[in-house]
């Protein structure tokens, strides 16, 4: 009973936050206070569910009867718990960061920004705790729409064009492929509930399952499997806090979360394994990992480099989930958490650099580590996690994925992981090296072609809220390396006890 009350609270809190933020729009301090209070309240409620869910309880809540046959329903299960915790926890930190960023850069439309931000978190919680595919789809589309004003925040022609790609790819894939897949599932299985062992087992043959699998894997455009990844780099036109929380955590994780959820609870890992209908997915995911890394290697714009790194890292999760071994599913769930804290740190650092130094390109970062040591140390930790080196949490998840690949004898996957680790090192370490070991370029050397003409005054660190936020996430990256038991417990429960 209390479990379903908690679920209701989790859905209502961010909605209430949206209303209160928009009402307090004229008083920025109050407005940001509301955002922070909402974020803390939400995280507290999600955390309150943790113990019960980790112990095996599955609280449920019936919402509206959306269709006579299928209702909207929320269910807390371990994977959703994990995603819910990540999204709501990092919302607190990124709210602090946003306050510094939005004020530091004199951004306009700040009320709309914070309202939509809360809306995105609302959608993320809905996805995390969706009890069936219909509910998940509802919140999935809500998330696409509510993040649209964030991507177009600057309202420029460039923003408009990028937002067209964003919306076109996300909505196109979800309507044409994912919705078709969901409706086909309904017609074939007669239910859209998430059940352990899947709902399609024994109802569809190998070819049919493969087709459905394709509809889901490409239809969940937020997981950015190639060739439907273009929206993610396009979304980088948004202010950096959006890129950090939404396009490194909430939106993209909603994508890979849905991938894992569909593989485990709709298809059923054992079912897919015995039919062999998902064998092609690791290949596409592997290709995405390597190809996106190569693009990242060549990108000079820092946010673009991070975006392609995200495309690549998301496919780690898809790859791990579709290796279909219990240990690989643990790896997939772990990587959702690991990548979240690491990548948000990297984006925070990129935003700090932009705010303090007005620099956006990697080639401008020579020697910046001396002026912004906190920022660049945080960046370095995030980079370690991306590469998968201790003492960062990325090592743990990569370890699970790699051993799963070896256990299942999937040597292509092993090769992909090794090559991508090298590529990751190839595009992250030079940034760190430039920042700390190269002399700053003389000021007049820059031609001001990037819209930051006379900003070569002496700059120091970014505003303190931003530094605080990135320090916290960088610390989390290390803390989770040492103490990852709570995450692992949930991940194991997803994979079926183990």
């Amino acid at each position: 009973m209390s479990g379903s009350m908690a679920l209701a609270g989790i859905i209502v809190t961010p909605l209430l936050g949206m209303v209160l933020v928009s009402l307090s729009g004229r008083r920025p301090n109050l407005r940001e206070g509301v955002t922070l209070a909402t974020a803390v309240a939400l995280f507290g409620q999600v955390l309150g569910l943790y113990a019960a869910v980790a112990d095996g309880a599955r609280p449920e809540l019936q919402l509206l009867p959306m269709l006579p046959e299928v209702s909207l329903q929320l269910t807390a299960e371990p994977l959703g718990m994990l995603f819910g915790l990540i999204a709501s926890g990092l919302w607190i930190i990124s709210s602090i960061y946003s306050i510094g960023y939005m004020r530091g850069n004199d951004e306009g439309h700040q009320t709309r920004f914070f309202v939509c931000f809360a809306g995105a978190i609302f959608a993320a919680q809905g996805i995390a705790f969706a009890g069936n595919m219909l509910t998940l789809f509802l919140f999935y589309e809500t998330m696409t729409l509510i993040t649209y004003p964030l991507v177009t925040h600057h309202g420029t022609d460039h923003a408009k064009k990028s937002a067209r790609i964003y919306l076109g790819v996300l909505m196109g894939t979800s309507i044409v492929l994912l919705l078709t897949g969901m409706l086909a599932t309904w017609v074939l299985a007669g239910t859209l509930d998430f059940r352990e062992g899947g709902i399609l087992a024994g109802r569809v043959g190998a070819t049919g399952t493969a087709v459905l699998m394709a509809l889901y894997m490409f239809g969940i455009g937020k997981a950015a499997l190639m060739p439907f990844h273009r929206w993610l780099p396009a979304a980088m036109v948004a202010p950096t806090p959006v890129s950090a929380l939404l396009h490194a955590v909430a939106v993209v994780k909603a994508g890979v979360f849905s991938v894992v959820k569909v593989v485990v609870y709709v298809f059923g890992a054992d079912n897919l394994m015995s039919l062999g209908s998902a064998d092609w997915v690791p290949l596409i995911a592997g290709f995405t990992i390597v190809a996106a890394s190569i693009v990242a290697l060549r990108a000079d714009n820092l946010k673009r480099r991070l975006a392609y790194s995200t495309v690549s890292q998301l496919s780690y999760v898809t790859l791990a989930a579709t290796l279909l071994a219990p240990i690989s599913i643990v790896g997939a769930a772990m990587h959702i958490a690991a990548h979240a804290v690491g990548k948000i740190t990297l984006f925070f650092a990129a935003g700090s650099i932009y705010t303090a130094a007005h620099k956006t390109e990697v080639s401008q970062l020579d020697g910046i580590g001396r002026r912004m040591p906190w920022t660049m140390v945080a960046f370095a930790i995030g980079a370690l996690s991306m590469i998968g080196l201790p003492p960062a949490v990325g090592f743990i998840s990569k370890w699970y994925i790699l051993s799963a690949a070896m256990d299942t004898g999937h040597w292509i996957a092993v090769a992909v992981l090794v090559v991508s680790t090298l590529l990751n090192a190839g595009y992250f370490l030079p940034v760190v090296w430039r920042a700390f070991f190269r002399e700053p370029a003389p000021a007049e050397h820059h031609d001001g072609g990037h819209g930051h003409d006379d900003h070569h005054h002496e700059h120091g660190e970014a505003p303190w809220p931003m530094v605080l936020a990135q320090t916290v996430t960088a610390s989390l990256t290390i803390i989770l390396f040492i103490y990852h038991e709570p995450v692992l417990k949930l991940a194991r429960a997803v994979a079926g006890g183990e």
Partner: protein, 493 residues
Amino acid sequence: MLNQHLPILLVVVPLLAAPVIVLLRHSLPSWLMATVASIATLAIALQLHQQVVSEGVISYAIGNWPPPLGIEYRVDAANAFVAVIVALIGVFVMPYCRRGVAPEVRAEEHYLFYAMLMLCLSGLLGILLTGDAFNLFVFLEISSLATYVLIAMGRDRRALVASYQYLLMGTVGATLYVIGIGLLYLQTGTLNLADMALRLPTMGDPRATLAALAFITVGISLKIALFPLHLWLPNAYAYSPSAVSAFLAATATKVSIYVLMRYFFTIFGETVVFDARHTGVILLALSLAAMFIPAVVAIFQTDVKRLLAYSSVSQIGYITLGISLHSVGGLTAALAHLFNHALTKGGMFLVLGGVVLRLGGSALDRMAGLGRTMPIAAFAFVIGGLSLIGIPGTAGFVSKWYLVTAAMEEGQWWLAGAVMLSSMLAVIYVWRFVEMAYFRDPPEGHPPPGEAPLSLLLPALLMIAACVWFGLDASWSGGMARLAAEALAGGWK
């Protein structure tokens, strides 16, 4: 006592309101009368629907003349459901008219406007309830004549041409229909639809039946604006007064669709229409053409009213697609979309009416910066647009759910892809408005318009809200659509 006369009351209340309005003459009392009549109509329609759902088919003999000879009103879950839709839209549109019509229709003609609206409402409800083929034609003409006048009342002179265009095509349609029932009468010797449905199967399958089917189908399709017989519709919607656009878009074509369904499923029967002929295939092909071609045309419109009009032609394609599947699932989808699209398109036209009132025109260019100057209207319009696309959480999604699952259940998997691709076209035409409203600066030199008056905004917002509500909770609309579909497919027993 009164309860057993509900079928006739539903038609008579608005019918009598019309002459009373003519006697009242002044704008305000006319409006009050029309509003009261439309609210009463809705109450009767709901009560009637309730009765039918709980007690089954109602047969009402006009003047106590027993059915095969006298005119019969026959109400089942199908026509009662569509009657609720029509009456509901009437109630939404009426409060809107008071302020909405003032700048569009000359003050001394207001009473005529309301009288015509009442006649139109009465005609549409009559078409729905009557169980007599010729009586149906009479009501068809009542509603059509009233509609021609209403369209001609638009303030633009092009409204006259639009009305004339519709008059010509509508008359052709009605004539074809009459020829069709003439042929049926020759064969069966009855005009009572239920009686006809019983006698037709015993006639074998002569060519005259085929001819009647063809005449009726084409005649009614003209009124439906089924592609490619839709040429009257864009102008009629674009140049008529805003309230009329909303009312017509939500009701007129829908009622004709009901007539087509009734003839296909109850009178001729599925065997004659679908199994022995290629009607289903032809309808399917036309529906697909409707889903794509007018949607592409909508993308290139420079006027928002015309954009919505072409979108309507495209959405009608979804409804006829449901019919062409000739299954209960397909009919459910068609009827659910009848309801959902009425709410969506009616609401969007009402929102647009308020915008046009403030901006003085409906050209897309004028909507620049609308997100800033009329934020509520712009947002409501976008929500309506999302429902046209079929985003979950809006009524349009529910229709799409039914339509695609019905196609899949019939084994027509490829149709799912067609429906989804056509929704992508809707994304494009809706997003043309979004980008205009939110990424352009309001035109210089004009004072910012500000939101439409509350009496316009409120009904519009209520309809858009209903659109979201029935997207989140379709247990009533979906359930009733299924009952209606079963009633249609099950015949008039």
